[in-house]
């Protein structure tokens, strides 16, 4: 389903990329918003930054490592108590689907 006139958004592709389902009513409003926001983003096209390197981290000090020592954690027990479990496994949706 291609919505949004000239600057078309393939809503099915967007839903699959983001793994978010939106119904038809929401989709047409969403596409209208997306078009306007992308127009706003396109302002950056008027600035030439070809020779500038991208900045991923604001501080040079990032990326430190802590010592590789095991620490007690109760996360697994917490997941066991709060998720749908079968034995030691969390029950999830099917990952292999017949087309």
């Amino acid at each position: 389903m291609l919505l949004g006139g000239k600057m078309g958004f393939d809503i099915e592709r967007l839903m699959r990329l983001a793994l978010i389902y939106v119904d038809e009513d929401e989709a047409s409003r969403l596409v209208n918003d997306l078009k306007r926001i992308m127009d706003f983003f396109n302002k950056i096209n008027s600035l030439d930054v070809e020779s500038v390197d991208p900045l991923y981290h604001v501080l040079d000090a990032s990326g430190k490592l802590r010592s590789d020592k095991p620490e007690p954690k109760d996360t697994i027990e917490w997941i066991r108590r709060h998720s749908r479990v079968k034995g030691d496994m969390v029950v999830g949706p099917r990952t292999i689907v017949e087309e």
Partner: protein, 486 residues
């Protein structure tokens, strides 16, 4: 007891002198919460009053640093055993198994978590209207928004139903609501407060901040919650031998020791009444010795789209973890195909603004658009940082409005994303550059608070707080003005 004028410093002094005073304070506080909170809706979850007062009195008796100080915490900061929803339906049943480092530090120093405050869903918004738990209202005018996304944290402090609070600031989310509610909102340098336990929105921009009634109160709590944390590799130890609190109290520093600059682009489109209030304050500061110059930085016009491109791209990645599997709302997934299951849960669980940002973020990061938008935004980010660090070095702190307008009415901006994003035009620069920024109350326009913002280079937190403290001495503290509530 007039709780309206009791900030962090007064609380600690009273509590340490007389632990019995603490139970009286808490009883007045909870009585006021009962009266005021139904009108404001600043909390999503409140602590059990009996347990809170018991912990606080014990803490005061033990003469801990915070002596049972109640602290409100934004509901995207993890609290062990206390629901943490991020203002979202998708986390409506989520109770974290651990404390954020900032929360742990508060508890270890004898503070008490008073409750979890309302916010725009996943901190995505500037008005606290996108919360699944309903909007928070501005204590100065109940028909108006308190700003956002830390709107609950700011409204609770302004309404005097919390003496101080933690918020988070990705593009102005601590400073914007501070400005709209007449409180002080401080975002430290990226890394000064650990992000461990802060539920991620845009990791390279997110930073925990503090909202209080005075600069002094902010400095007191900052001494507790700042510091390097092995659990956050981007956290840093602030390079100073002195505490933030003792530094701002240094009597040898005068307004004339500081330099400030007005960037003409940051005054364009500012409401004339806001402009008048702030220019009068700046005139007063100049006559008290502050050296103020004016310059133009044309590149700053690119800051807002650059910020939103980076924030949405990072959000789409960070929020991929909400799949209805390990935490948050879920349905029986057996027999359902995974794409359909995740998509449906996320379709139900996220609100409109969050969906917009995740979808656009995924789009920007997808093949064919990555270089054009995301990579280009990161390049502009470097350009802005280089340009601003030079400006700070040459001219000192940037002084600007915190927001171009006073608090809008509820519903006024919420249906137009671009109007909503425009509220952040003054604040995003600090997050892109990584430096500290503070909003201090500067007066009123049409009966609504106006905030003055100071922005500086990374690691200028100490000097910035000292400057803000001197400014507060000259123009008066927001502590003396409480909204007419209760």
């Amino acid at each position: 007891m007039r709780i309206e004028h009791i900030g962090v410093a007064e609380y600690i002094e009273n509590a340490r002198n007389d632990p019995e005073w603490v139970s009286e304070y808490y009883s007045v506080l909870f009585e006021r919460i009962g009266k005021v909170e139904p009108e404001i809706n600043s909390y999503i979850t409140l602590a059990d009053p009996e347990k809170a007062v018991k912990n606080a009195v014990e803490s005061a008796k033990r003469k801990t640093t915070l002596a049972g100080l109640p602290v409100a915490v934004k509901d995207n900061i993890s609290t062990k055993g206390m629901k943490t929803t991020c203002g979202s339906r998708i986390l409506s049943n989520y109770v974290p198994p651990y404390d954020a480092t900032a929360v742990r530090s508060i508890k270890e120093h004898g503070g008490v978590i008073l409750g979890k405050t309302n916010l725009d869903e996943f901190a995505m918004g500037s008005t606290t209207e996108t919360s699944f738990y309903g909007p928070t209202r501005n204590p100065w005018d109940l028909d108006r928004v308190p700003g956002g996304s830390s709107g609950g944290s700011a409204a609770a402090v302004a309404a005097r139903i919390a003496p101080v609070s933690l918020g988070s600031d990705t593009g102005g989310s601590v400073r914007n609501p501070a400005s709209f509610t007449g409180t002080v909102g401080f975002k430290p340098t990226y890394g000064v407060i650990s992000r461990y336990g802060l539920i991620a929105y845009a990791s390279s921009l997110d930073q925990i901040g503090i909202i209080g009634l005075s600069v002094e109160d902010i400095a007191l709590l900052l001494d507790i919650v700042s510091g390097e944390d092995p659990r956050d590799s981007t956290s840093i130890a602030y390079p100073s031998a002195k505490s933030f609190y003792s530094s701002i109290k240094d009597g040898d520093r005068y307004l004339g020791d500081f330099k400030a600059v007005l960037v003409s682009e940051m005054w364009r489109g500012v409401d004339p009444d806001v402009n008048t209030v702030l220019k009068a304050v700046i005139g007063k500061l100049e006559s008290n010795g502050l050296e103020v110059t004016e310059i133009s930085i044309p590149e700053i016009e690119y800051a807002l789209p650059t910020y939103y491109i980076i924030a949405m791209a990072e959000a789409s990645s960070n929020l991929a973890r909400y799949s209805g599997m390990l935490f948050g709302i879920s349905k029986d997934p057996s027999g359902v195909d995974w794409v359909k299951y995740y998509s449906r849960i996320r379709g139900i669980g996220f609100g409109r603004e969050v969906k917009r940002r995740i979808i656009l973020g995924s789009y920007i990061l997808s093949e064919g658009f990555f270089d054009q938008y995301y990579l280009k935004a990161l390049k502009i980010r470097r350009l802005l940082k280089q340009r601003l660090v030079k400006v700070y070095g040459d001219h000192g702190f940037i002084i600007s409005p915190t927001t171009p307008i006073t608090a809008p009415r509820l519903g006024e901006n919420i249906d137009d994303p671009l109007k909503l994003y425009a509220l952040d035009v003054e604040t995003v620069v600090a997050n892109l550059v990584g430096g500290p920024s503070i909003s201090v109350p500067a007066g009123f326009a049409g009966g609504l608070p106006v905030g003055l913002q100071i922005t500086g280079p990374p690691l200028s937190d100490l000097d910035m707080l000292a400057l803000a403290y001197r400014i507060e001495e000259i123009i008066g503290s927001g502590k003396t003005h409480a909204p007419p509530l209760g």
